[in-house]
Amino acid sequence: MTDVEKRQDRSPVPTDWTYAPAPESTSILTIEERYGLYIGGEWQKAKEHFTTISPRDESPLAEVAQASEADVHDAVAAARTAFKTWSKLPGAERSKYMFRIARILAERAREFAVLESLNGGKPIKESRDVDLPLAAAHFFYYAGWADKLEYAFPNRTPQPLGVCGQIIPWNFPMLMLAWKIAPALAAGNSVVLKPAETTPLTALLFCDVLRQAGLPAGVVNIVTGDGSTGAALVDSDVDKIAFTGSTQVGKAIQRRLAGTEKKLTLELGGKAANIVFDDCAIDQTVEGIVNGIYFNQGHVCCAGSRLFVQESIYEPVIAKLKQRMATLRIGDPLDKNTDVGAINSREQLTRIEELVEAGKEEGAEIYQPPCRLPEQGYWFAPTVFTNVAQSARIAQEEIFGPVLSVLTFRTPEEAVEKANNTPYGLSAGVWTEKGSRILWMAERLRAGVVWANTFNRFDPTSPFGGYKESGFGREGGLHGMEPYLTFDAAETFGG
């Protein structure tokens, strides 16, 4: 057939409905070749750099600075200087800057969402509909508290702490940045923030938002780097460390800070129980299970990674779950129809693969829906394990990937006992149409958040944090203000 004939042949119509690619354009982005460190409102050159890539195809995106101990020292010093004036500003003035940041973030949301998906691998529909709107909402929310602290904590004379060192993870780079920076600024602190090694780009773009908002120099400083940069920040002259990440690193930080004056909040791992009772609305419950574990490829500290199903409804739930998993669309994070994106890094992929192997060896039954994974980049198919023993590694250890372990229970008491039988305690889910049972369960579950008939739902007004090895301190809501304040007047002179 000639080209002309082809053009006249009026049948571009496929026989079955395969959605055409619908990629979000990257033309909106300007990524620098090489980034420095954002210290004292200026870009400072660094000695060493490393390459940050896109996990969707391993293509390099930019060179990012590896901050040394001296760089971290400079950043903390800049924050210390800025703190003197920033903390003296009237609350209403601070909130003015924060409202500006919130509005600029909302205006530039698409740019940030595309960059977030490119650098982190999460589906664009999530960065567009969840990460960025929530990040902006956090700034809006905490901006409102800045001038009302005395009313929020009456008769306690709330005062800022000083310089806050903040270390954030790679699973929700912008959202975690907002969770950390917004309450710190509202309280009158200055900040040195270290983004995760694999996802530094949105934090670096955020520096441009700070410039646009005219935030005074040094109030927020961003230093990129690997774990050594984080360690340097922990050891530096800060007044507080706020860390979100693995329990292992969290424990190391706590050991390091023991005996110092530095305050600490930790938001660590989880192995959440998602508990399904036989009177649940089954189709919506299956949606909730899917959202609980496959949202953001399961890179969620509060992911519902242990599914407890009441035995009387086990078969239909599992059948429907498998059916639903087969409709998940895995692929290019920038495609608007993608449900499950790329695994964030090779390191994480290796860890997921190792634990899945362990699950198979322990005799659990594995199911993965038929799907074609892209050849380049880091990918892992949505996975569910059935016949999982409570003692299995996949039921105990945090996998931080799209892997669900299913267990069963018979009575509400048994569900509570099994759900609480873990060193973690970040979140839990309860699925039942019975209101009284929801309350009964919530009272007994040892988890910072208990979701009822929903999962992975966040709001700036709602506190979030863990029990046991999931950490301490709360983020979000008025509870999230408290760790950034001191109520003892004598302590404030240190600033």
Binding site: W17, T18, Y19, A281, Q284, G288, E315, K336
Partner: protein, 312 residues
């Protein structure tokens, strides 16, 4: 003391561990899921495919007191060849009219693949004795209707007399003979998703070939979450019995974009088997022209004005 209604077959307690049980629907979650699916981005070839499918699934409808043979004749021409300038555009599935206009439609549609659907059973209220409804159906079938769109007795349903509703559907299905039966739930009047699910299972258990959302006579009519609830009920019946029941949203679907959202939901809930006029219909009138306009835009690359498409 009021007597508990006798539960019909297929509506008993789930003694087996298998589906369908009547179950319940979580309003917040079902609306969230419908909202998620509505965001699918359908482009290029897949959009053309969807637009043509939507057209092939249309029940082109006129149900007015002012309907005349002239009006219905014009509608039939539109149904056979929706876009006279492009013979490649497929015909719609059916025209949907009141019984009195069946003869006109039959004459016009003879020899084409377009079916005749007629509303019956004291449409749209259904508030008449059963023998009147049965007679209504028998007449429509005798006049040549291929498909009957019946309304359920919402008065009976809402007062908990499920057996009455069920018996009526069974009798009407018998009266239909060879004609296909679509059961209109009139979801706006049912009030809750739980009721929509219950009525859907009831209609399927009683033998309906299709379940349909609305008469089109009330505001609100079809919505994406309502269809999702009905599709999930259809899926449960299929899983349990292997029987494939059709779905027809009707009322309020006016744009091609909206129609594609409905199709995406069917595709991702029931799968590709249901993407055929045999199992999926859209009750609409003004939708057709919007689809034609979008199809022409896809082919030519620019929008034509409304005046380039006929109003029938």
């Amino acid at each position: 003391m009021a007597q508990a209604p006798v539960l019909p077959r297929g509506f008993e307690l789930p003694l087996k561990q298998r589906l369908p049980r009547i179950g319940s629907v979580d309003q917040v979650a079902v609306e969230a899921r419908a909202g998620e699916l509505a965001k699918r981005s359908i482009k290029k070839e897949s959009k053309i495919w969807a637009l043509e499918l939507a057209l092939r699934c249309c029940d082109l409808t006129t149900l007015e007191g002012s309907d005349t043979p002239g009006k219905v004749a014009a509608l039939c021409s539109k149904a056979i060849r929706p876009d006279p300038t492009d013979p490649n555009i497929p015909s719609v599935a059916a025209v949907c009219v009141y019984p009195n206009l069946i003869p006109t439609a039959k004459e016009r549609l003879a020899g084409t693949g377009v079916k005749i659907a007629s509303v019956a059973t004291y449409f749209p209220s259904g508030q008449a004795p059963l023998d009147v409804k049965l007679r209504d159906v028998e007449d429509a079938v005798a006049m040549g209707a291929d498909e009957i769109d019946m309304v359920i007795d919402r008065g009976a349903f809402l007062s908990g007399r499920y057996a009455t509703v069920y018996e009526e559907i069974v009798r009407i299905k018998e009266a239909c003979g060879e004609a296909h039966l679509k059961v209109i739930l009139e979801v706006t009047e049912l009030g809750t998703y739980d009721n929509v699910r219950r009525a859907s299972l009831l209609a399927m258990a009683a033998g309906g070939d299709f379940i349909k959302t609305s008469t089109g006579k009330l505001p609100g009519a079809a919505t994406l979450p309502v269809q999702l609830v009905m599709l999930e009920a259809i899926r449960d019946v299929h899983e349990e019995t292997g029987r494939k029941v059709g779905m027809k949203p009707a009322g309020g679907i006016r744009t091609a974009k909206n129609a594609i959202q409905y199709l995406v939901q069917v595709h991702e809930t029931l799968g590709p088997d249901w993407l055929t006029p045999d199992l999926y219909r859209i009750g609409a009138s003004s939708l057709v022209n919007d689809i034609l306009m979008q199809l022409r835009t896809q082919r030519t690359g620019f929008y034509s004005g409304k005046d380039y498409f006929t109003n029938d």
